[in-house]
């Protein structure tokens, strides 16, 4: 293989946005201020389930500064019900109509001259509720006598289907061992430090709605938002701001748009709605899946994995906003890095009185990693095979790529054995095993975990709907675009269609352009385009952006460069193929005196039409839309879901923990992550993503959960109860090392790396805690491993 010489790709180039942010000059959604702007606040339901008999807003309207108070029915004049990606008739309104179905559901919204006045007014709204029985668990919702959450449905099971790939019955009947586990993945959420928000301004004279926000997808499916706001698709302008973290939770934030949009139409003034922390925790799109797994792994006598059964009850909360898309996501890699030829994957999607699921980093595949790796550890225990060697024995081998998995998704490339070898070599395993032995003599319990997991990247969108035979929204496109302009004086401007979400899209795109032109990326200016000026862009999500921007930025660079060469060739009286670009100068190869700077060519291109070839348009810019590099359709019978998430990274994590059996406290002593996400675009930024993801994984494993009591009351609606990891909850040093198996399908061979840390760490830590508690015979089948749970497991294990 020819290794390209690279100047900027692969280097830890500094981030573009940092200086302004560090100086306090970054503009986030709450920093937008418009003349005459009003502020919104929302009154929320204290009940998990109740009928709304009446709402009296008259006193609220008398509060000084209040301009409008909207209830659900009144808002419908201005906005439609919320967009939903499900085929079932589950209707959700941003402000509830007639009935509330979770604690925190919006009941009324107020616009006032200050947020203080708006919140005062909320306190003056009187609502007469008629409480209904709250369904706080799927078990309750499944009871035949349970009240139906939606009269439009037959029951609280909103969707149910079992898919089988390969010879599942054969695999299980021929197995020497069937390893079984009941596993639980708990409800947790993204919890960005910045909540979601929007500033909406409607101009009735031009019928144009302008919306500033911290969302994504405004250059991908802007018509979803236009439809919601009841404006024509070409009359909505969505303007991005810097985003203070999302981790998937801000893809659509349609509740914010709906509330700000309805209020700007109602008042004729710009309206800002910024969620407070309780709004965001209790009622936005923060929450990931909430699953009960019934799992079985069929294993041959020699330890070969033959088949996998995953039957899942998933608690969706009160609505079905994104349908079963996160199980579509999970079907990209349910069999992990292993050669498992047969798969049964069944889901039962249940509605309960909780906030509906949104998206969170991992998007459903992280739970698949948890289930599979817990089963593999269990198999190693039951068969008395070393856990690392059992994995190695079943790994897909390097020569088997591209590898078609049972579901039809393809893995592009990988070398899992090499990653495992590196992990075993660098984790000081022998040292920690000795320590484990020594400390057990002192009554201390340390454990070493291991997990080998996939990180699928670059989604194609079919996984949002292929569970349906008749999908409501069969998107098959996830494009990403970049516009590159060189102005008349040779200044480079890069226009992105995606937002800055805390990742580094502009830095990565500038690295690629710099590589193509041989210029310093720091000289390239960046523009984040709004929805009326940006080209197609699905934006961040599914670890796709580095892959997709590499393609888009390289494509746009090449288009601009070709035009530049055609013009320069004309002026230098040479053939374009005789030219080369070095140090910002276009030269005739072998003739150093025949050269023009990029600025010289650009000036001619912009202003001297008569000097450039007659068939060239003036100007020097190109937009390139990079479509998904390898996506195929699912088969009609859904026995083959096609290639939909084929750029597949891999990681092996080895954490070391100490567990105090008296207090149940878990301390992470050491953490190694060996990562292979293809060619590393920017080592420092990738390390940041991996370490940050691992911290979220530590939160998932040890701290974070949504707790609803038996009445459906949310007990964790603040950061005092919903615990995020602090600087003392993460280990002093997370070591991240990389193997690089380039993808054959992407530019530069890059693969996604944004979710990997988060997708692997929880199960690696479960493995470590189980190892520490081996003397007690404890199995870790659920998270988070809080002190209470650990102590109760140890208690339960005593004879």
């Amino acid at each position: 293989m020819v290794v390209e010489e690279r100047t900027w790709v692969g280097k830890s180039v500094a981030r573009r946005e940092d200086p302004s942010i560090l100086a306090g000059r970054g503009v986030y959604i709450d920093d937008i201020k418009l003349p005459g702007m009003l502020h919104a606040a929302v009154l929320r339901s204290p009940h998990a389930h109740a009928r709304i008999n009446s709402i009296d807003t008259s006193a609220a309207k008398q509060v000084p500064g209040v301009v409008a108070v909207l209830t659900g029915p009144a808002a419908l004049e201005f906005v439609t019900p919320m967009p939903a990606f499900c085929a079932e008739p589950v209707v959700q309104h941003a402000i509830a109509i007639d009935r509330v179905r979770f604690v925190g559901e919006a009941v009324a919204a107020v616009a006032a001259t200050s947020r203080y006045a708006a919140e005062d007014a909320c306190q003056q709204i009187s609502v007469e509720y008629e409480p209904l029985p709250a369904l706080s668990t799927p078990a309750e919702a499944l009871r035949p006598d349970a009240p139906k959450l939606h009269e439009t449905l037959q029951s609280n099971v909103v969707f149910e289907r079992t898919l089988r790939f390969g010879d599942v019955a054969g695999a299980f009947s021929s197995a020497a061992h069937i390893v079984k586990r009941s596993l639980r993945w708990h409800r947790m959420g993204a919890q960005p430090i910045e909540t979601a928000g929007a500033v909406a301004s409607f101009d009735p004279y031009s019928a144009t709605m302008t919306v500033w926000s911290n969302t994504n997808m405004y250059n991908y499916i802007p018509w979803v938002f236009a439809n919601l706001l009841k404006v024509p698709t070409n009359r909505l302008k969505m303007i991005p701001c810097l985003v203070g973290g999302s981790f998937g939770s801000k893809h659509l934030i349609t509740k914010c748009f709906s509330i700000a949009g309805a209020l700007t139409k109602a008042t004729g003034k710009p309206v800002k709605f910024i969620e407070d922390r309780i709004d965001n925790l209790a009622a936005n799109d923060n929450v990931g899946p909430d699953r009960f797994y019934d799992t079985e792994l069929a294993v041959a006598e020699d330890g070969t994995f033959l088949g996998l059964r995953l039957n899942i009850v998933d608690d969706y909360g009160a609505y079905f906003q994104f349908a079963q898309g996160q199980h579509g996501n999970a079907l990209s890699q349910p069999t992990g890095p292993y050669r498992i030829g047969a798969l049964e994957y069944g889901i039962q999607c249940v509605l309960t009185n909780k906030v509906q699921q949104g998206f969170f980093r991992g998007a459903g595949s992280d739970h698949g990693n948890f289930a599979l790796e817990r089963l593999v550890d269990a198999a190693a225990d039951e068969l008395h095979i070393d856990a690392a060697e059992l994995r190695r024995k079943n790994f897909i081998r390097p020569e088997q790529f591209p590898y078609r998995t049972p579901t039809g998704n393809v893995y592009d490339s990988g070398n899992y054995g090499r990653v495992l070898d590196r992990a075993l070599a660098e984790s000081n395993l022998a040292h920690w095993r000795r320590e484990q032995e020594r400390l057990r003599q002192e009554g201390r319990y340390i454990g070493i975990g291991l997990a080998s997991c996939q990180e699928r990247s670059a989604y194609s969108a079919t996984e949002w709907w292929f569970w349906y035979d008749k999908p409501p929204l069969p998107l098959t496109t996830t494009p990403e675009s970049v516009k590159l302009s060189i102005d008349a004086f040779g200044g480079f401007l890069l226009t992105l269609g995606c937002p800055f979400w805390g990742n580094s899209p502009s830095t990565v795109a500038a690295q690629v352009v710099a590589e193509e032109f041989g210029i310093d990326p720091a000289t390239i200016a960046i523009n984040y385009a709004d929805s009326q000026s940006g080209a197609l862009s699905a934006g961040p999500g599914g670890s796709r952006l580095t892959v997709m921007l590499s393609g888009a930025a390289r494509g746009a660079s090449r288009r601009v460069k070709e035009k530049m060469f055609r013009i320069a060739a004309h002026l230098l009286e040479a053939a374009p193929s005789d030219l080369e670009l070095r140090d910002g100068t276009v030269r005739v190869k072998g003739a150093p005196n025949r050269a023009m700077s990029i600025a010289d060519v650009a000036l001619k291109a912009h202003l001297f039409k008569l000097d450039i070839p007659a068939d060239e348009e003036s100007g020097l810019a190109a937009t390139f839309t990079y479509d998904h590099p390898f996506a195929t359709r699912p088969s009609d019978d859904r026995t083959d879901m096609g290639a939909f998430y084929p750029i597949v990274s891999h990681a092996c994590h080895v954490p070391v923990v100490e567990v105090d059996p008296e207090t149940g406290r878990v301390t992470v002593l050491d953490y190694l992550a060996v990562n292979d996400c293809g060619t590393v675009m920017n080592p420092k930024l990738l390390e940041g993503q991996v370490v940050g993801g691992i911290a979220q994984g530590i939160g998932a494993a040890l701290l974070e959960e949504y707790v609803y009591d038996e009445h459906g009351q949310l007990a964790t609606s603040t950061f005092m109860d919903y615990l995020l990891p602090t600087a003392f909850d993460v280990p002093p040093s997370v070591r991240v090392v990389h193997e690089e198996t380039p993808s054959p399908y992407t530019e530069f061979g890059v693969k996604g790396g944004g979710e990997g840390g988060r997708m692997v760490a929880p199960v690696a830590l479960a493995s470590a805690v189980e190892d520490a508690l081996r003397p007690f015979g404890v199995s870790v089948n659920e998270l988070p491993m809080t002190p209470e749970r650990i102590v109760s497991w140890i208690e339960a294990s005593r004879p």
Partner: protein, 173 residues
Amino acid sequence: MTEMKPARKVALRVIVNGEEHEALVEPRRLLVDLLRDDLGLTGTHIGCEHGVCGACTVLLDGQTVRSCLLFAVQAKGHSVMTVEGLADADGSLHPIQAAFMAEHGLQCGFCTPGFLMTAYELLRANPAPDEEEIRAAISGNLCRCTGYQNIVRSVRAAAETMAAAAATPAVPA
């Protein structure tokens, strides 16, 4: 039902980043709203409004406070420093800011102003903190992006830069 009346406003004078400001505020107005809304200093961020996340951290007479938990009137006659006060008058970044950039100590940047102010307070009191002392100082601030590792590195790097600068004889003004 209580009748809502506009609250009596209180006049106050406060020094922010060395500059004197006058404002007329409701007694219940939060310090963070005074800074962001009335004075236009939007570098200070609101993360949780219940004193846990630390994104709104500013210095009040040199001590870190949560500006979402203080009333503006509590700052009356006092001196406040925000993230906007860190860089030099010529715009060049403070060594702590520069270190956060060099060590990739921020991703989304939303919590960053709070960490910068916390680090500023730490390094003034303890110019050479060890790992444990840095973690203790920042343990009241939440970051959801970085996992803290690069924040710790940034603070350590800033301490080293500042120590080196302090060891160099200053040019008389």
